[in-house]
Symmetry: C2
Subunit: 329 residues, 2 copies
């Protein structure tokens, strides 16, 4: 390892915020030093409580995270927040607003906030996000929140690597309730109904209870708590923090924390490997004129997509195989 | 090609429904004969109008598709419907109900309805779904509807291979509106507001108009129509069919149909190739004890996930490479 990375790793393990910021940038930019760094600090991970936070846009996730951060700090814990931003140019304004809601924490050395942009390849992003969470863990954050927007499978993949998964909803989140009901979305560990001053809050809570009563129970005896909050006014946040603590205690005492982490780490290895293969493949499609010709054949309906895919894979295997150069001779 | 597959291909191209059903089962089960068949009939595809249909569960997509199918049949067109079912055991009841809504069409030789189950790997499912759509196209269906449930990236990947993308909403679809607004969900070509007898319908339509006015225009001069329907009573269906026809005419006249199909076919090749690589990888992880040992190292925090992924990829490349056997000697 180069001497400056060792220094960065040491500074990171000591909890230095600038070192952490630099490390996450290296990972986000997919730089070899970044991966090297994660490798170096990985034995020091596994101590943080990683909490995945998802829900449709507009429910006030950033405000909730701001309030949760404050509550965790009051309890003497250090916090990392990793926000996964969607790619659309639409969101620039919204995200700026979100970041402002978290500014009160920017000067607190016990809080580290970072957003990561989706640069098109969700596989790649979720890969980078998980590495980011590991870096925060290594830097000694007691609690790491990984926030993502949306209610689809790809978003769930990102937060599925957490110890505890929180779904944030609000009165009017009919689509998300239906998605839970239809089994499109997995049942989370904790549900928050934010903006609970809305008159339809109790109707919403009843609907959620109805959906939960239909489904199979979560692991063992865990009953998914539904916490009503008004994050903008700090209402219900203490209850939410307690619910997160209860879940953590529960999975720890039941031994499911270890099981979960084993499954999550396996998924992570597959996700990283798949993402790398996919990127390699896309690069070869972009750069290789003979692959472009294959695609022209597909468009002309002379070669079917599956055969083209098999051909691309065969050419790719030749290129990456250690035996390829021997064969070429 | 084996003689019985030739017969199946011939029967499929003649529009035989039983041959089509058999062909889709072969593809769904990932049988080599299925892929062979798609290869054989692929030159006869590209004639159908492929319409992707998505939206949160509960908005009445099956009822809409039933009504649309009736309307297309009245106009003398043959129809294929391919429904992509989510995996949860929760949905059994809902799907049975959905299928019942389509039963009036089961005896019509001009209508072919098929659902495909998600067996965990969405990549694999979307791959099979697209092959299914090609088979329906080859069997001479004039219109092929590909239906999917949900509002996330993975669901969009499935329908993104369509010529026209329809998003179905209903009054109360607040989460989906927010997802459109935040750019988490792509702007579709046509939006349907079903259950339009609800008092909040016009509020909903105004909200959608607001979101559409914020975003970048769709290709060229296309203005996304918002069609109000009450599918259960057949109201608004004629208007919806006309909107679909207008969009098809539009992309044809602008030349964007060819552009779209080129992009979609490229994405399809990448998706099939990635899905195959992923499956191969997962199999090697399941079956190879030495890979299991790698994972144990990851769980023990001695080996980081990215290094484990690199190691798994290296072992995999050795196995699949044509040069590997030479090297082993």
């Amino acid at each position: 390892m180069a001497p400056d990375e060792r220094t960065l790793a040491e500074r990171l393990l000591a909890g230095d915020k600038r070192a952490l910021a630099r490390a996450i940038t290296l990972v986000e930019d997919d730089r070899p030093e970044g991966w090297e760094l994660v490798r170096a600090v990985y034995p020091h991970t596994g101590r943080a409580s990683v909490i995945g936070f998802t829900g449709p846009p507009g429910v006030g996730k950033s405000t909730l995270l701001g309030a949760l951060t404050r509550a965790e700090r009051e309890r003497g814990r250090t916090v990392g927040v990793l926000s996964i931003d969607p790619s659309s140019p639409f969101t620039q304004g919204a995200l700026l607003g979100d970041r402002i809601r978290l500014t009160e924490h920017f000067l607190d050395p016990g809080v580290f906030i970072r957003s990561m942009a989706n640069r098109g390849a969700l596989g790649g992003l979720s890969e980078a996000a998980l590495q980011g969470a590991l870096l925060m863990d290594a830097a000694g954050r007691d609690v790491v929140f990984v926030e993502t927007v949306g209610v689809g499978q790809a978003e769930v993949d990102v937060i599925d690597h957490a110890d505890t998964v929180v779904l944030a909803l609000m009165p009017g989140s009919g689509d998300s309730i239906q998605a839970l009901k239809a089994g499109v979305m997995e049942i989370p560990d904790v549900i928050v109904v934010n903006k609970a001053d809305h008159p339809l809050t109790d109707t919403m809570v009843r609907e959620i209870r109805g959906v939960l009563s239909l489904g199979p129970a979560k692991e063992g005896a865990w009953r998914v708590p539904i916490i009503k909050t008004q994050a903008a006014h700090g209402i219900g946040i203490g209850e939410l923090v307690e619910a997160l603590e209860r879940h953590r205690e529960y999975i720890r005492s039941e031994g499911t924390l270890l099981e979960r982490r084993r499954r999550n780490l396996m998924n992570e290895v597959v996700a990283i490997a798949t993402s790398r293969m996919r990127r390699q493949l896309e690069a070869s499609i972009r750069e290789d004129p003979s692959v472009q010709e294959l695609l022209d054949e597909v468009v002309a309906r002379r070669l079917d997509p599956a055969s083209a895919a098999a051909e691309v894979l065969a050419r790719n295997a030749e290129r990456v195989s250690p035996g390829a150069t021997d064969q070429a001779g």
